[in-house]
């Protein structure tokens, strides 16, 4: 039988549009150093490392080999996992399974990206089938715009509805000293910003960011000795349904709905809005922030805007979403999903400072990747039975 696993420390760099002062290995090392300090551990205590990023953003092949100077993987077990945008949660899940397997007690999971070093859109386009999709593909924004347009058509949602998400997340970012973009905006600001791909406008979209994040997973045998309040991993699941672009139904995120349903059933969760204290959700655009909470069972189909309008997801609401400012405020792609995990852990460990949700005991993190890859991870303050 496997081991129970908790997060006992996290670290992240300050997110910036370009970190010209460090190379990739140094950037990684910043996050690693911070995570070890947070957990009050040294590299000697780490039994294994797992790392992820999207190769073509930095143009480096075999990043696990390349990173050892910064990741601490020298003479340690290390390998790389990568699943595009969900790499961060894939890395987190891999770190979790390393420990749950019983083979390792303390594992360092690292996600990072130096988006400033390359052509992000060009690289993302290469994710899609070179023969069938690439000749017409409209980039990450184009793909997201299609789902937004479909949702508008089905449920009559408006561009102003989506703008509310951007306004909420950017406001939250003001409490997060690490966030890349920290500017308070209004719905009008969003509506006036340039249209990128109808209906997505500039202020609806996440930025490109340089940054790194590291998380320490520990087994039940040692977690409580390391952290006074570990963030226990209660469950992880992922689903994917996009191989060729025209395949999935775009009016909702089916893979997310399926993943959430599977995990809720496993854990006996029936009313997520009531049963979770905080959520860190991967929204690459404000529209996602409107649609995908429905897939998580937080609102009925077409009612995503109500959650925001009624203040349910603000810092004073029943279920704060993205106290960190979310992906709309910082997007170092290989780290982005891992940041959702780290931020949930930070909430449970009570280390959120100005962005702390008081008394947060259960948290949910999602990861999303450009091919409907959906990851869900649930954390709790109490050790699972």
């Amino acid at each position: 039988m496997g081991k129970r696993v908790a997060i006992v420390g996290t670290g992240q760099t300050y997110m910036r549009s370009a970190r010209k002062d460090v190379n990739g290995q140094e950037l990684i090392n910043e996050a690693v150093t911070a995570a070890l300090a947070d957990a009050e551990l040294t590299m000697k205590d780490i039994d294994a490392v797992v790392i992820g990023n999207m190769d073509h953003f930095e143009g480096i092949n075999y990043v696990d080999s390349w990173s050892v100077d910064g990741s601490g993987g020298y003479l340690k077990p290390i390998f790389k996992v990568c699943t595009g945008g969900t790499t961060g949660t894939t890395v987190a899940m891999c770190g979790y399974y390393h420990v749950a397997s019983g083979l390792f007690d303390r594992v360092l999971a690292i996600g990072w990206e130096k988006n400033s070093e390359s052509d992000t859109t060009g690289a993302i386009i290469t994710a899609f089938d070179p023969v069938l999709d690439r000749p017409t593909f409209g980039g990450a924004v184009g793909g997201l715009a299609l789902t937004a347009q479909r949702y508008m058509h089905l449920y009559g949602a408006t561009e102003e509805d989506a703008a509310l998400v951007a306004v909420r997340d950017r406001k939250h970012a003001l409490n997060n000293p690490y966030a890349h973009l920290r500017l308070e905006i209004t719905v009008e600001d969003v509506m006036k910003s340039p249209m990128i791909s109808y209906p997505i406008k500039y202020l609806d979209m996440c930025p490109r960011t340089d940054g790194a994040c590291a998380v320490v997973f520990a087994s039940e045998d040692v977690a409580e000795k390391i952290a006074p309040q570990p963030a226990w991993v209660l469950g992880v699941v992922n689903r994917h349904n996009w191989t060729i672009t025209g395949d999935p139904d775009l009016g909702s995120l089916e893979s997310m709905a399926e993943a959430a349903a599977v995990l809720y059933q496993k854990l006996g969760i029936k009313e997520p809005l009531k049963e979770f204290d905080v959520m860190e959700l991967y929204f690459p655009s404000s529209w996602a922030g409107l649609m995908w909470p429905e897939d998580l069972g937080l609102a009925k189909r077409g009612e995503g805007a109500r959650l925001i309008r009624e203040g349910i997801t603000g810092m004073d609401g029943e279920l704060p979403i993205n106290p960190s400012g979310g992906v709309t405020s910082s997007n170092p792609i290989g780290a982005t999903a891992l940041l959702r995990v780290a931020e949930c852990a930070i909430q449970i460990m009570g280390k959120g400072g100005q962005r702390q949700v008081q008394g947060a005991k259960t948290a949910l993190a999602t990861g999303f990747g450009g091919c409907s890859w959906s990851d869900v991870m649930i954390f709790g303050a109490k050790k699972p039975s």
Binding site: G122, L132, R134, G139, H153, M195, S197, P199, T245, L250
Partner: protein
């Protein structure tokens, strides 16, 4: 150190990494039909009967190989659309795409999945989900997705 700090960068240089991908049996069939017959084809799952376009070997839900090629009329409707206003360099041609242009999911008659492609109308106010469209083929075709030039709106 009292010296001035200089932060340098290095460029990736001119070497390209060319690829020569095998299309496989299914995609090759799709492309040769475009090239030789100006015809779009899909493939049907023997179990769930879902028609996939473009064709591929395996039905994802049934995990069965599909053999039945299904010719499609080239007509369909817009399932969803977006109009791109930002130009980016197309990694295949190395050229900037001219904007604005419309990229849409086309639900072809008889198919259960959508075919993403261009539509020849770039005004988001005029475009509607459900609008009927028809494939327009290039005169010179080579066995490439862009043998279909775009889809044109066939209904006011």
């Amino acid at each position: 150190m009292a010296e001035k700090k200089e932060l340098l960068t290095v460029q990736s240089g001119e070497a390209e990494q060319p690829f020569n991908w095998a299309m496989g049996r299914y995609v090759s069939k799709f492309m040769t039909e475009l090239r030789d017959n100006k015809r779009i084809v899909g493939v049907r799952c023997p179990q769930c009967k879902k028609v996939y376009v473009p064709p591929r070997q395996v039905c994802a839900d049934c995990f069965l190989p599909m053999e039945e090629i299904v010719p499609l009329s080239g007509q369909g409707s817009i399932y969803c659309f977006t109009v791109l206003s930002f130009g980016f360099v197309d990694p295949d041609t190395g050229k900037q795409r001219p904007v604005p242009y419309t990229w849409a999911f086309i639900k072809l008659e008889g198919a259960d999945t959508c075919l993403p492609h261009f539509v020849d109308l770039a005004d988001p106010k005029k475009l509607k989900v459900g609008m009927r469209v028809e494939a327009v083929f290039e005169e010179q075709r080579r066995g490439h997705l862009l043998d279909i030039k775009h889809f044109k709106v066939i209904e006011g």
